[in-house]
Every structure is written in structure tokens, then in C-alpha cells.
């Protein structure tokens, strides 16, 4: 540690860190639009420039390593003039449509302009004119609002290893685009929506489905049912003014009923069901010498990724549908039969922390006889908007329970919301399936936490099972490359597309810190700790579903409803 002088005062700096980190730790804020925690600085936005004594130009603090004896002025007139000019220049080429923008009041550019006191248009020249790309079922791109901070490009390339978008053209015509300027739908985009989370403006947003859901709710001929993914209840509160990590499960269920949904189910139920199917599939593969290692299949972004980049490993992917699709399938079969509603009159909505789920719901194999299993997918963000739109005051609601038969869940199913959760739930049940006994210590520490790659050797009876948990597709890519190169000590691999799992999925609140994601994760573990029913195979309603309807895991009916097949996919890169 050493000291540097900032604005006339001495502050502590760590050797090797960038000046921006030093400043932030010491409570001195300089704005940035392109900085990404944990990734190498690109120095694109130039907003974090400061004056450093002895340097001719202004210095970007994001990419300037601190050295002893530094004298810095962070808010000198010269630095302020530069920042203000940069924002003025951005605004000069930005649509004046804030009132109609999905990010109004939640826009980094808007806030920055206000902070810096930009109150008039200084440059009245031409603006770039671009068309909106609404070709994707998940993500809408509005390049006119793009300020080219490059975060989406970087997250797509460096975190997700997909590179569906990149900078194209030169000079003031530069724009982030797809290969050959084609629609995002035919690109290699996996619909994960991580780009939306990092976008400082309204250039990237989810394909909004609120109107469709509202129309269904207004339609008397429709029975509208809703399910919600495990990560939603621990995140929704943030969008409604609560602090991160608050679980609003009961209140959310009450809100569903206020909004007019006929039934409110919990996707955790089918997470438990997934464990029964996937766990049995794993045991079968191990016992019968099937293709190993086996990859999980819950994450639709991951599925599209492997379909287009590593189709040769598709036999390694579990044939189980994701919990969303399993729920959709049992609602329109078992539940429809049981309640006597024509599946065609059921409008099945799912609330997901995910944009790729919108794509998954539309896959042709996810339905039967022309009736899709899921009719509409809303992200956590859209649900919050709908709650506000319909004037539902969550503070005035009392928690309510989910509807039967798909409201009961184990906390193992709830853990699906975070990276390592599927693995932990699977280990708990696989242990029982193989040994016939319950695991003594249910908490599997090795697969917990936000790290992108976690590995463990798990002893189940005589068997030592090699497991790996990866989140963020770049990590998945690296692991597959290892396997390609001959690695063979793994049996079961959980892959979640988004870094950290669904708690930081592309449908979650934008622009949040790692702290918030960690709080969501803690909330999930807290729920697991407080729960009595902590293993999927003990879920009474799951057992009953097998008894009354499905028969047994991997049985004929299961195969028809709960399993699917994935295919090699050609895309324009």
C-alpha cells in the first residue's frame, strides 16, 4: 500500500490496481460508461479522464495503473469540460425519445447528462438513422440508441464466447451489428440477454410480451395459468423498491391472483421433477455405459450454444426438457385432463429471469398437436412493469400459497436459481437413487458460490462421481475444449448460460452490482436452510404425479412429455 494525492488529499492505493479502483474505494466517483468489473479496460468512453500532474493530456483512470507519487485532480475544470463535451457529443447523435424509451428513468446516459448539467443541444448536425432489429424472439436491438460503449460486444465475446455482435463500419458510421447485418434471429446469438444487462441505454431490451398476456387475461374463454422460476422471487423485490436478497414468494403469488391469473404454480415443482428424470438418466448412463459426461439441459441459451458450436456433443446433453417446458407439458396434459379444461383454452404464462426462455418456448418441438406448451414468457422486469401498470401495491398484500398440484416444491428445486443448484439437488437425489439412503450432509459446499468453474469428486456408495459446474458460456467452451483434448474424469456437468446462473439471468434487473447478485444467492441458500423438504425425490406431489400419470422416471409417458431431442443448428456467424 502507498499513498497518492487526489484533489489535494492523500489517499491509499494498492500497487498494481487501476486508478479508477483506487478512487472508487476512497469514495471519489468519476463516471464511466464502458467500464466492466473483472474485465480488462477498453478505454472507450473517455468519461473517467482525470488530470495527472506531469502528463500532457487527460488520463483515463480506468486503464491507468497507480504509481507512487501520483498527483491527481478528478474534477478540475479541464476534466469536467471534457466529460461534459463527451456527453454533449453523445446526445447530439442520440434520439430525443426518452419519454418513449424502455429505459426512461433507468438510463445511464440520461442520468449522466443530468449529473453533468447538460441542459441544451449544442450540436445540431446530422444523426445516424438505423432500423430496429426485432427479428429475435428474445432481444430487440435499437442501434440508434447505441452509444458504442462496447459492453454488449465484450460480454458476448469474452463472457459468453459467442461473438454474435461486433463493431462494424468506420468513423461516425461505426455501429454494433451482426454478421453481414442480418437479423439477430439468424445469428449465433443464444438469446441469453447478458447484453441487455450491461447496456447503459435503451439500445438493447427484451422482446416485450406484456400486451399478449394482458389480452389473454381479458379473454374470458382462456384459463390463464402462471408459473415462476426459482430465481424470480428473490429478485423481483429489487424492482419494486425492496433491498436485494428479499424473497417475495408469497407476496408475488398474491400479486398473480390480483393480476387475474387463474392458477399460480411454481416452476420449482418441475425442477424437482427434472431431478427425478435427469438424475435417473445419469444413473442409467453410468450403469449402462451410456455417453458421458452428461450435460444438464435446463438452460436454453446453453442448448442453442451447443447446438451451433459443438453439435458433436449433443449426445452428451440430457434429453430432459427444462423445468419451464416440463411444467408447460404437465399443465396442458395431466392438469388439463384432471380439471377437464381443453388444453387449447389454457394460456400458459411463465415468469423467467431469462430472455432465452422466450426463444425456448417457441421451439417447434416444445408442444404437441400445434398447441405450444408455453404461450408467453415474461421476464422478471416485465412482471414488475405489469405489477406497476395494474396498480398492485405489494406492500398491501398478504403472502399467499401457490396452487396445487404444482405448488409444492422442495428447496432443492429452489436452488436451481443459482449456479451449482441443479448439481446440488441432483447429488442429493442421486445419492438416494443409487444407495437407497439419504445423504447425511445435504449442503454441498464445493458447488456453491459465484465462481465460474467449480469441480468436485462426490462419493456415492462405491462410486466416485466427477462433477463440474460452469456458468458463463466462455467457461463452458473452455471445459468442452478440455474434454475434446481428452479429459475424461467427469461424469456430470451442470452448465448455466449466464454467469452466476439464473439469479443474474438476462431477464433480471439491469445494471446491478455483484453484491445484489450475491444477496439473491444468499436468499436461495437461506430458503434451503429454513426448509424441511430439502430433497426432490420426497416431493409428495411429484410422487403422486408419477403414481397417477407418468408411471416411473424415464417411462413411456415421461419420454413423450418431459424429454426432447436437440439438433445441430446452422447459423450465420
Amino acid at each position: 500500500m502507498f499513498e497518492i494525492e487526489v484533489n489535494g488529499k492523500m489517499i491509499e492505493a494498492k500497487p498494481g490496481e487501476m486508478l479508477l479502483s483506487t478512487l472508487r474505494r476512497n469514495g471519489i466517483n468519476v463516471p464511466t460508461l464502458c467500464h466492466m468489473e473483472g474485465l480488462a479496460p477498453t478505454g472507450a468512453c473517455r468519461l473517467c479522464v482525470v488530470e495527472v500532474e506531469g502528463r500532457p493530456g487527460l488520463i483515463p483512470s480506468c486503464s491507468f495503473p497507480v504509481i507512487e507519487g501520483l498527483k491527481v485532480k478528478t474534477h478540475s475544470p479541464r476534466a469536467m469540460r471534457a466529460r461534459r463535451t463527451i456527453v454533449e457529443l453523445l446526445l447530439a447523435n442520440h434520439p430525443d425519445e426518452c419519454l418513449y424509451c424502455s429505459r426512461n428513468n433507468n438510463c445511464e446516459l440520461q442520468s449522466l447528462a443530468a449529473e453533468l448539467g447538460v441542459d441544451q443541444r449544442l450540436y445540431s448536425g446530422s444523426k445516424n438513422d438505423y432500423k430496429i432489429d426485432a427479428s429475435s424472439p428474445s432481444i430487440v436491438r435499437d442501434p440508434a440508441k447505441c452509444i458504442l460503449c462496447g459492453k454488449c460486444v465484450r460480454v458476448c465475446e469474452e463472457v459468453q464466447g459467442v461473438s454474435a455482435i461486433d463493431f462494424t463500419f468506420r468513423g461516425s458510421s461505426s455501429i454494433v451489428g451482426t454478421a453481414f447485418g442480418q437479423g439477430l434471429n439468424v445469428s449465433s446469438c443464444v438469446n441469453c440477454g447478458q447484453c441487455i444487462l450491461v447496456c447503459p441505454t435503451g439500445a438493447l431490451s427484451e422482446r416485450n410480451s406484456i400486451k399478449d398476456v394482458l389480452a389473454a387475461l381479458e379473454d374470458p374463454s382462456k384459463t390463464v395459468v402462471v408459473q415462476h422460476a426459482p430465481a424470480v422471487s428473490v429478485t423481483l423485490g429489487e424492482l419494486l423498491g425492496l433491498k436485494p436478497g428479499k424473497d417475495v414468494m408469497g407476496i408475488m403469488t398474491a400479486a398473480f391472483r390480483k393480476l387475474g391469473f387463474d392458477k399460480a404454480f411454481d416452476t420449482c415443482f418441475t425442477a424437482d421433477l427434472t431431478i427425478m428424470e435427469e438424475g435417473s438418466e445419469l444413473v442409467q448412463r453410468i450403469k449402462t455405459g451410456g455417453t458421458l459426461p452428461m450435460f444438464t439441459s435446463c438452460s436454453p441459451g446453453w442448448i442453442k450454444f451447443i447446438e451451433q458450436f459443438y453439435p458433436e456433443y449433443l449426445p452428451n446433453v440430457s434429453s430432459c426438457k427444462s423445468p419451464q417446458q416440463m411444467m408447460g407439458a404437465v399443465i396442458k396434459s395431466y392438469w388439463a385432463e384432471k380439471t377437464g379444461v381443453d388444453p387449447r383454452d389454457i394460456y400458459s404464462v411463465s415468469i423467467m429471469p431469462c430472455t432465452a426462455k422466450k426463444f425456448e418456448a417457441g421451439r417447434p418441438e416444445m408442444g404437441r398437436g400445434g398447441v405450444p406448451d408455453i404461450d408467453a414468457v415474461l421476464t422478471t422486469r416485465e412482471l414488475a412493469q405489469m405489477i406497476r401498470m395494474r396498480g398492485v401495491d405489494i406492500h398491501a398484500l398478504e403472502p399467499e400459497d401457490a396452487d396445487t398440484p404444482f405448488g409444492e416444491r422442495s428447496s432443492a428445486g429452489k436452488l436451481f436459481g443459482a449456479t451449482g443448484g441443479v448439481m446440488e439437488a441432483a447429488i442429493r437425489s442421486a445419492y438416494y437413487l443409487i444407495t437407497g439412503e439419504e445423504l447425511e450432509h445435504l449442503k454441498v459446499t464445493a458447488v456453491r458460490g459465484l465462481k465460474g468453474v467449480k469441480e468436485a469428486k462426490v462419493k456415492i456408495g462405491d462410486l466416485e462421481v466427477g462433477v463440474a459446474v460452469v456458468s458463463g458460456l466462455m467457461n463452458a467452451r473452455e471445459l468442452i475444449e478440455q474434454i475434446k483434448a481428452g479429459r475424461n474424469d467427469l461424469h456430470f456437468i451442470e452448465v448455466m448460460c449466464c454467469p452466476g446462473g439464473c439469479i443474474s439471468g438476462g431477464g433480471q434487473p439491469v445494471g446491478v452490482s455483484v453484491d445484489a447478485v450475491q444477496a439473491r444467492m444468499r436468499a436461495l441458500y437461506q430458503i434451503d436452510r429454513d426448509e424441511d423438504l430439502r430433497v426432490s425425490h420426497k416431493n409428495k406431489w411429484v410422487q403422486r404425479l408419477y403414481e397417477e400419470f407418468l408411471g416411473e422416471p424415464l417411462g413411456h409417458k415421461s419420454h413423450e412429455l418431459l424429454h426432447t431431442k436437440y439438433n445441430k443448428r446452422d447459423v450465420i456467424f
Binding site: 487527460l58 471534457a82 463535451t85 463527451i86 449544442l122 448536425g125 458504442l148 468506420r170 468513423g171 461516425s172
Partner: protein, 666 residues
């Protein structure tokens, strides 16, 4: 390729490309060392003299076949020469050489008769070939096309009595030709000719007797600074990379000459590719790189062809590849063609492009010498920098730094273009004045016009006005007057050039070539261009609001320029406003005339002119009226026409159309 010379060494020699001998270069020049065979030695001395063209058996005709020569019709001249020789059944060698530098006098042809000096001619278009050769092959020279004879280098050659020496020509006399020493004289397609003139002796010396540290130190002591523009001491940079321990290092030659009006690197590679290549091999050895790239723009097909051939020849002689000259040093050279982006001259953008990515700069540190191509230590040097290395090694640092100013040593090549009588490639000692280059070498301004300014350093540089013409050229003095050395572009402007228009031209170039990454450069240069366009836009079509915008823009022009300079990511952005700032500094009055009086003093900004028809001169031919896109010219045929000022858009097409000088512009 012709026969490899070492194959003639005979029995005692064991050299092979795969099993090299450290003495190869010396043996090639003086005959095999390992044999006490005086006859062999004499044979090689003779051979070298032939390659140097000191002794020739039959007439040799040299033709400048650089890109400039080809542009002037050298291709057709070559065909005409061959046809002539064929028809007359004359046995003569025809040698295609690079550019000697006098681009404005191309096509250049030299004729050398056995035992006599080489005599040069200018403007040798195909139609002149027969007449010129009729005389020259008989020793009778056409004085009008004559450039001069080369001074005899050797006793066996006799000068022509009454011909002036080329070296004494105004264009060549003030020059110090180190980098260009072979350009235009030797056949760039022949490694033997390069070796005969001392080529690859520096490499042999380095590999045989110098450590990496010694090479770096020698180059550092010489004071050689990067010729690509920034002027960083080359030897110091090499030391940084040498210091890094890594399993892989890279050496890159930056031949991505992107400045409008610059063609130094192209001419060096086209005219003497081995000189650059030798410097690069020495540099790679000095830092410990075994892989090197030449990043060259795809718009230089001839240079690429010559370079590729040079690499193949060097490989065949074992001067590239594995275990070069038995030193244990390996080097592979790869030509990487760039797609012609100006920003790829910036080293981090260039590295991205070499890696196969979009050419966009990244922040430094880390500097490429620490983490460059593929995140390995990488040195990037410009072509001209590398072309200096062999001479420094051969002659020593103190030979090199004896010439120049206190902080800038050696020579600098400039691409002289614009409104001078002689345009072309010139190499002068550091410390030569701008005036000497323009008035002596360039022969002053043509058509009796007055000099106004010279733009130095291309779009990143600035202009030097008349009052600073006596400035001695070096890296630091140029900065003081708002220009930069840059890579060596020198565009001369006379009184007919409008400085606002010049600034607009460079701004237009820069804003199109910005990579789009950082906001000040991408958005700021676009706005600066718009402001400049508003200043030079037609007053007739301007509404009140636009006038207000014009004045507002002027208020912001200087601020924008300063902010872009202050906080852009790379040198492209940081220097982008220079042309505007420097013209604002020296030609403020021209800006004021455009802004307040709405006049362009040089008459370049046509939209600002008022056009009239002189009724006395107008014949009523109707040509102007037919051309006018705004239908602003009225009048009956065969009677004087007139211009309806309210309709005129100021395009100036009438002025260029009129054959009777009847249109006036004021």
C-alpha cells in the same frame, strides 16, 4: 530466381541452405574463404562487379518501374524499348528498377554503355523511346530529356565529357541519400545486386560477433528515432522487448502507410526491399523474436510482390529460416496484408489486425514491447526505421549520429507533393530547412504563384506558414510550430489553396477513418467537419437559423478540438484536430473572411463566390446555361447571358464551362 551463387563455390565449400556457413556473405562477395583459390576469388570479384554494373558487356537500359513510373506510363515505355531492341536486333540488357525519387519526371530511363557512366533521361514516354535510344546507344544524348550522368564509382568507368552529373542536379545535391541509396539504381528483384553493394554484411556481422545487448545498444547510441511519426528511440524500444522473458516474441514491420500524400515506405520496398528485410532480421535477432510480420496495405500490390520475392530469395540463401548463418537464430517472416485502414498504422490497432481482429486501438500500458501480438512481447518499427539499421551496424553509431540536430539524428525521407515544380521522394539530413526542400530540391512553386504553407505529417500534422520556412527540420522543432514529423508527407500549398478547405479535407479524412471506438474522436471529428462545412457552405441557401448555427459552431470548434486532443484514446484521435488548430493558428484571417465576410480569399470554396457574366465577352453560346444545374442563367442564344443571383447555388460549373473567359467570380 537465377542460380544460387554459392553453388559455384566448388568442392571445399560445405555451405547449404539447411547447413549454413557463417561466412556465407563474405564468401559471396570475395570468393570462398575456405579455399586458397585465387582464381575463384577473382571470379567472384568479377561477378560482384557485374552485379554492381561496374563492368558491363553490353548496353544496359534501366527503367523506373515503381508505382509512380508505372502511373506515368513506364509499362508502355518498357514495351516500346523491347520492341525497339528487337526490331533493330540490338543486344542490350533491360533492367527494371525502383523509383529514384523524381516522381514528377517519370518515366525515367537510364542508358549505360560498356565502360561509360550511366546517363538518365526524364519523361520517357513510349513515343520518345526510339529517338532517344537511336542517339543514346551511339553516345549522342538528347539534351532536352537529359537528367545527367552518374559519377563514376570505379576506374574502369569513364564519364562523358560534356554531361552534367546527376548528383549535382538541384534535386539531388541537397539530399543525403542513405535509405534511398540503392533506390532507382539496382534491380529490386535481385538479392545478388543488393549483396554486391554490401547487402547482408551487417546481418553477418551481427550474427557472428554481436550479442543482442550490443545490437540494441548500438542502435540506441546512434540516436535513431522511429520514422513512423512518434519518434521514439528505436534502440530503447528494442531493449524493452529484450528485457522481457517469454517463450515467444514477435517483430512487426509497419508498412501500412496510410497518410494521404505519403509514399516513402512503398518506394523503399519497391526499390530496395532487402534493405528493410535485413534491418528487420537484425531487429528480430536483437529482441529474440523468431517470427516476424510485415503489415502492408493491400493497395501496394507491387511492393508486396517485390517483398515476397525478396523473402524467397533470402530464404534460398539461408538468410531467413532456420539457423541463419549457423548462428542458431531462426526467423520466419510473414506478409500480412492490411485492408487499408488509416488507424491500423497505430500500433495496438495494427496488432489487433495482425491477430485477425478488427483494427481498433486499446489503452497502453501494457505497451506492445511487454504485451503485444497474441499477448507476447512485440516490437513494431516502420519501414524507414528498419532501412537505416544495416548502415548503422556497418558504419557504427557515431557515423550515424554525426549528422542531424541535437535530438534528431540521421536523415529523413519525405514525400514531397503538391504545388512544387519537382515532386517526389527526397531524403535529407535532419536539420535541413523547409525552405531548402521546397525551393532547392522541389524547385519552388510553379506558375509564378506564391508559397502559402506546407502540410507536414499528413492528417495528424499541421501546416508550416511562410514565416517559418527557415525552420530546421527535426522532431522537436516541428512540434513548436504546430506540425509534426509524422511519417514524412509534405504537401506544398500556394496562394490558390484555401486553408479552411485544407482543414476540411483532412477532417473529412479523419472522421471517416476514425475506428469508432472512443467517443471524442468518433463523434467530435464528425461535428468539427460539420462546422467547417457550415463555414464554407453557400450563403445564398443559408437561412437565419443556419447562420446562427454557423456562429455557434465557431464558438465550439476550438473547444471541441482541445477536448478531442486532450482525451482521445489513440494518437489518431489525439492528433485529429491538428490540421484545424494549426490553420486556425496561422491563417486566422482566412477563417474570419469565411465566417464574417462570407468570402473565400483563395476562391476555392465555390459556394461562397458571386458569379457574373461579362456582357462584353459573352458570345451567347449558351454552354453555361445548359450546364447550370439550377437554371440560374438566362439569355437568348447569340446575345449576352446573365445570372439570376437568387437562383445561383454557387457551384461554379459556369466558370469551368465558359470558353470565352466571360464568367467572373468574386
Amino acid at each position: 530466381m537465377s542460380e544460387l551463387l554459392f553453388n559455384r563455390f566448388g568442392e571445399g565449400c560445405w555451405h547449404q541452405t539447411q547447413k549454413p556457413c557463417p561466412d556465407l556473405v563474405d564468401c559471396l562477395r570475395e570468393g570462398p574463404k575456405c579455399q586458397q583459390n585465387e582464381e575463384k576469388k577473382a571470379e567472384y570479384a568479377k561477378l560482384m562487379a557485374v552485379y554492381r554494373r561496374d563492368t558491363i558487356a553490353k548496353p544496359v537500359i534501366y527503367l523506373g518501374m515503381g508505382t509512380c513510373g508505372l502511373g506515368a506510363g513506364a509499362g508502355k515505355t518498357l514495351a516500346a524499348i523491347k520492341a525497339y531492341l528487337n526490331e533493330k536486333a540490338i543486344d542490350a540488357d533491360v533492367v527494371e528498377v525502383g523509383c529514384i525519387g523524381m516522381c514528377s519526371a517519370e518515366p525515367l530511363m537510364d542508358v549505360q554503355l560498356p565502360g561509360r557512366t550511366r546517363v538518365g533521361f526524364t519523361h520517357v514516354t513510349e513515343d520518345k523511346v526510339a529517338a532517344l535510344l537511336d542517339g543514346a546507344l551511339k553516345g549522342e544524348f538528347d539534351r532536352e530529356a537529359l537528367l545527367g550522368q552518374l559519377k563514376p564509382q570505379h576506374d574502369g568507368i569513364k564519364a562523358w565529357d560534356d554531361l552534367p552529373f546527376m548528383e549535382d542536379h538541384d534535386f539531388f545535391k541537397p539530399q543525403t541519400r542513405w535509405v534511398l541509396v540503392n533506390c532507382g539504381l539496382i534491380d529490386p528483384g535481385s538479392i545478388e545486386e543488393y549483396i554486391s553493394r554490401g547487402g547482408y554484411t551487417a546481418l553477418a556481422k551481427v550474427l557472428k560477433s554481436m550479442t543482442q545487448q550490443e545490437v540494441c545498444a548500438e542502435v540506441e547510441t546512434s540516436g535513431l528515432r522511429g520514422r513512423g511519426g512518434a519518434g521514439f528511440p528505436a534502440g530503447t524500444k528494442w531493449k524493452f522487448a529484450l528485457r522481457e522473458s517469454s517463450n515467444q516474441k514477435y517483430f512487426i514491420c509497419n508498412a501500412d502507410e496510410g497518410d494521404p500524400g505519403a509514399f516513402m515506405d512503398r518506394a523503399v520496398i519497391e526499390g530496395d526491399p532487402h534493405r528493410m528485410l535485413e534491418g528487420m532480421i537484425i531487429g528480430a535477432y536483437a529482441i529474440g523474436a523468431d517470427k516476424a510480420y510485415v503489415y502492408i496495405r493491400a493497395e501496394y500490390p507491387l511492393a508486396i510482390k517485390r517483398l515476397a520475392a525478396a523473402i524467397e530469395q533470402a530464404k534460398a540463401y539461408g538468410l531467413l529460416g532456420e539457423n541463419i548463418l549457423d548462428s542458431g537464430f531462426n526467423l520466419k517472416v510473414i506478409i500480412k496484408q492490411g485492408a487499408g485502414a488509416f488507424v491500423c498504422g497505430e500500433e495496438t490497432a495494427l496488432i489487433h489486425s495482425v491477430e485477425g481482429k478488427r483494427g481498433m486501438p486499446r489503452p497502453r500500458p501494457p505497451f506492445p514491447a511487454v504485451s503485444g501480438a497474441f499477448e507476447k512481447p512485440t516490437i513494431i518499427n516502420n519501414v524507414e526505421t528498419l532501412a537505416n539499421i544495416a548502415s548503422i551496424i556497418n558504419n557504427g553509431a557515431s557515423w550515424f549520429n554525426a549528422i542531424g540536430t541535437e535530438r534528431s539524428k540521421g536523415t529523413k525521407v519525405f514525400a514531397l507533393s503538391g504545388k512544387v515544380n519537382r515532386t517526389g521522394l527526397v531524403e535529407v539530413a535532419m536539420g535541413t530547412t523547409v525552405r531548402q526542400i521546397i525551393e532547392e530540391i522541389g524547385g519552388g512553386i510553379g506558375n509564378g504563384k506564391a508559397f502559402k504553407a506546407v502540410q507536414m505529417g499528413g492528417p495528424s500534422g499541421g501546416c508550416i506558414p511562410q514565416q517559418h520556412m527557415d525552420i530546421e527540420i527535426d522532431y522537436d522543432s516541428l512540434k513548436k510550430v504546430g506540425a509534426i514529423m509524422g511519417s514524412g508527407g509534405m504537401v506544398v500549398m500556394d496562394e490558390d489553396n484555401c486553408m479552411v478547405d485544407v482543414a476540411k479535407f483532412f477532417m473529412d479524412f479523419i472522421q471517416r477513418e476514425s475506428c469508432g471506438k472512443c467517443i471524442p474522436c468518433r463523434e467530435g471529428t464528425k461535428r468539427m467537419l460539420e462546422i467547417l462545412k457550415a463555414i464554407t457552405r453557400a450563403r445564398r441557401t443559408e437561412g437565419g437559423f443556419q447562420a446562427l448555427e454557423r456562429f455557434k459552431g465557431i464558438m465550439y470548434l476550438q473547444k471541441l478540438a482541445e477536448v478531442i486532443q486532450d482525451c482521445s484514446l489513440c494518437a489518431l484521435g489525439q492528433t485529429a484536430p491538428n490540421p484545424v488548430l494549426s490553420t486556425l493558428r496561422w491563417f486566422h484571417d482566412e477563417y474570419e473572411a469565411h465566417i464574417f465576410d462570407r468570402k473565400c480569399p483563395a476562391g476555392v470554396c465555390t459556394e461562397l463566390l458571386i458569379y457574373d457574366i461579362d456582357a462584353e465577352k459573352c458570345t451567347g453560346c449558351t454552354a453555361c446555361a445548359t450546364q447550370c444545374p439550377a437554371e440560374a442563367i438566362m439569355g437568348k442564344p447569340k446575345t449576352p447571358h446573365y445570372i439570376v443571383q437568387d437562383k445561383c447555388i454557387g457551384c461554379g460549373s459556369c466558370l469551368t464551362t465558359c470558353r470565352f473567359d466571360a464568367i467572373t467570380a468574386s
